[in-house]
Symmetry: C2
Subunit: 423 residues, 2 copies
């Protein structure tokens, strides 16, 4: 229990009242076997829904379709998600396929098409294997369950290069009423502000209006998924969907109220927890690093410094090697385009001062090396020019990341497999 927030052990998207979840395997990820790769999260009554999507100019078909549905109205009651194929760079056929998936769900649940949104994650540039996907929707709907198992299956079904399933749920008191927030997410690789190749579905049983849910969601995304980076790349498919069932029966969460403050804090807590887990599960990552910048003249300066440091290949390589090389951090600060004064900068590694006023401190190098050898490291950078700060969550860069990404998803092998495949 912290700030009135209680974690629900083993919880997920079905922890809040009013939600069911399901997943089946269509052979999208792997034509040979039947790993789960098609998932559904649905609200069993009217819902209030908000979404945040990739800022990339190259948006996958499901992102385009879902954005239109969420603009049209907020009573979106179901999210259908597939992994293994991103349905990105697939042209008009991709849009038709995404709509086909929406329709398969809306028809069977008795909803209008715009009450369903769709997310995809996986390889870019291959058409969706609709011949394998479409026959499985009856089974998907039959599988819908309000139990924790439904949520677990969704968490597994949306994984791509993730090594761990990611779900989380909490309970918080709003004016004497217990409200729940649950979520599932996938990440790994290509994690960068803003957003990432990440998907996240959040459910809550709070009573909340459309505008306040949208504001709370954007703020929570800004404090969480927009602050994580693994390799500086941003994806075509990033999506966060937040659905509220209103089943908790609390007094409505209204903009500017104390309830709104508590709800935003709780929603941010859920998203930040999943964002951190995404970073820790980054492709072949061995180290989780929190880059905390303070003393900036502006928040933009602080963010620029954090992002330059958190995305520098040389800095990330040095972390992989347990090397307390603050010189590389300084040079990333230098090219960050932030207004910094070198002679004012202090750098702390794991709480130990490595650089004071722009030059080496007298902390013994062996102590600094121990500080950066831990699996979780906090790097604090004080610009000593003002009051603004920014925190970013990042990782080291390993040979394993490179070898994984030079071989995984080889397009040629995938295309050949598709042609020989079951589709």
């Amino acid at each position: 229990m912290e700030n009135g927030i209680r974690v629900i052990r083993g919880g997920g998207v079905t922890s809040p009242r009013g939600f069911s979840a399901a997943a089946v395997g269509c052979g999208i990820k792997d034509p040979a076997n039947r790993r789960l790769d098609l998932a559904l999260v649905a609200c069993d009554g009217p819902a209030v829904t908000a979404g945040a999507f990739t800022t990339s100019r190259v948006k996958a078909a499901p992102v385009r379709v879902s954005q239109v549905h969420l603009r049209a109205g907020s009573d979106v009651r179901a999210v259908v998600i597939n992994s293994g194929n991103a349905n990105a760079c697939t042209g008009p056929q991709g849009i038709r396929d995404a709509k086909e998936m929406v329709k398969a769900v809306s028809t069977r649940l008795g909803l209008r098409m715009r009450q369903v949104v769709v997310c995809s994650t996986g390889i870019i540039g291959l058409p969706m294997p609709m011949g394998r996907v479409m026959p499985r929707f009856d089974e998907l709907i039959d599988d819908l369950s309000p139990s924790v198992d439904g949520s677990k299956k969704v968490a597994h079904a949306i994984m791509t290069s993730d090594t761990k399933q990611k779900s989380y749920a909490i309970e918080v008191e709003l004016d004497g009423v217990l409200v729940r927030i649950g979520a599932v997410a996938k990440g790994a690789g290509m994690i960068c502000p803003s957003m990432a190749t990440m998907l996240c579905v959040v459910t809550t049983d709070a009573v909340i209006g459309r505008d306040e849910l949208r504001r709370a969601s954007l703020e929570a995304v800004d404090q969480s998924f927009n602050r994580i980076t693994i390799d500086g790349d941003t994806s075509t498919n990033d999506s966060v969907i937040v659905m509220a069932s209103g089943k908790a029966g609390n007094r409505a969460v209204a903009n500017g109220s104390e309830l709104a403050r508590i709800f935003r804090e709780a929603l941010t807590r859920v998203m930040l927890e999943l964002a951190k887990r995404i970073v820790m599960d980054g492709e072949r990552v061995t180290k989780f690093v929190e880059v905390r910048v303070c003393g900036g003249r502006t928040s933009v300066d602080a963010r620029r410094v954090a992002e330059a440091v958190g995305n520098s290949l040389l800095v990330k390589c040095s972390w992989a090697g347990d090397d307390p090389n603050w010189g590389r951090i300084m040079h990333a600060i230098g090219y960050s385009r932030a207004r910094v004064r070198e002679e004012l900068v202090d750098i702390y590694l794991g709480g130990l001062c490595a650089c004071k006023s722009g030059v080496a401190s007298d902390t013994p190098p062996a102590d600094l090396k121990r500080a950066v050898s831990r699996p979780q490291v906090t790097v604090c950078i004080d610009l000593n020019q003002g009051e603004r700060g920014y925190t970013l969550y990042t990782t080291d860069l390993t040979e394993g990341y490179v070898s994984y990404n030079r071989s995984e998803y080889s397009l040629v092998e995938r295309v050949l497999a598709e042609r020989k495949g079951l589709g």
Copy 2:
């Protein structure tokens, strides 16, 4: 012979008339042995000099000192360069050390201090081992030679993680008079627009005014060193120094004239050649990639696309794996912040169409794989929205780069070696 330009085989900074060069080993790079690490290039009479420096906010001491000297006047006649220590993040002591090096040269050559500039490259954050450097200046001056050997020694002395020395010289006719341009450079690692951890000294015997030399130098840097990238990082020490002796006796190269056009083209040719060699000699690089963007609405859009693609870890990993994964290129285009329309984008790999109008072409994947398997690959991206273009030279990203950069220059070992060392 091409555009009236003839390459001088084995040429370098001493190919133009009026220049001498020298190098000695002080044990900065390696206290144990005596690899060359202190170099000098000098003009034996009045010179016209221009310089371009890192845009980083964290500038090494030698950069700060040299910028002041070049602003004060253009008759800079000598460049002293050390490798092994960047003299960056070294505070007021670093400035004193840089000036000390300048003074050691100016005194011995009978120049004013402001007629000498200084460059350093190597590890950041350690004080210059002046006790080892200062006793070697007499020998350095004695070593000055107008022969090609002097230039070769400088090219070796400035290397850090470079595996090959980089010198180049050409001859071009200006209004019936043969003018020479020669250069030495070092690079490797941390190569990124704008500039890099790279140093380049260019000499010419052309008669040219200060303003025109400055304009020509900036243009040539923009067309060459600002267009190369290995790992997206920019250094504290990047410097390009261009010295003209006027010994060729040509009609002065004046702004806007035909002579100026020819001279700029020749200077750009020299810098571009060295820039490409720097990329090809990048740390553990196996592939040289030219990213050519055309059809942009503006040059800024074209540049953003080229830089996003050329710096994307995922794209660079796919090149290392000979994977024609144009989907990763598309997603880098997407997050580049350039105004692009996905459905207009064409991507060519080694001349073969991989993506047409935003979707997969029907080129057989095996052919595309062969195209990206070569050691030199050209990636063309046509945005089909206008007439503007931009070209960037980049590399793949290998496990070798990571393992090299996680272990090389380990600060702890360096500091301990320094303490045990000769300094």
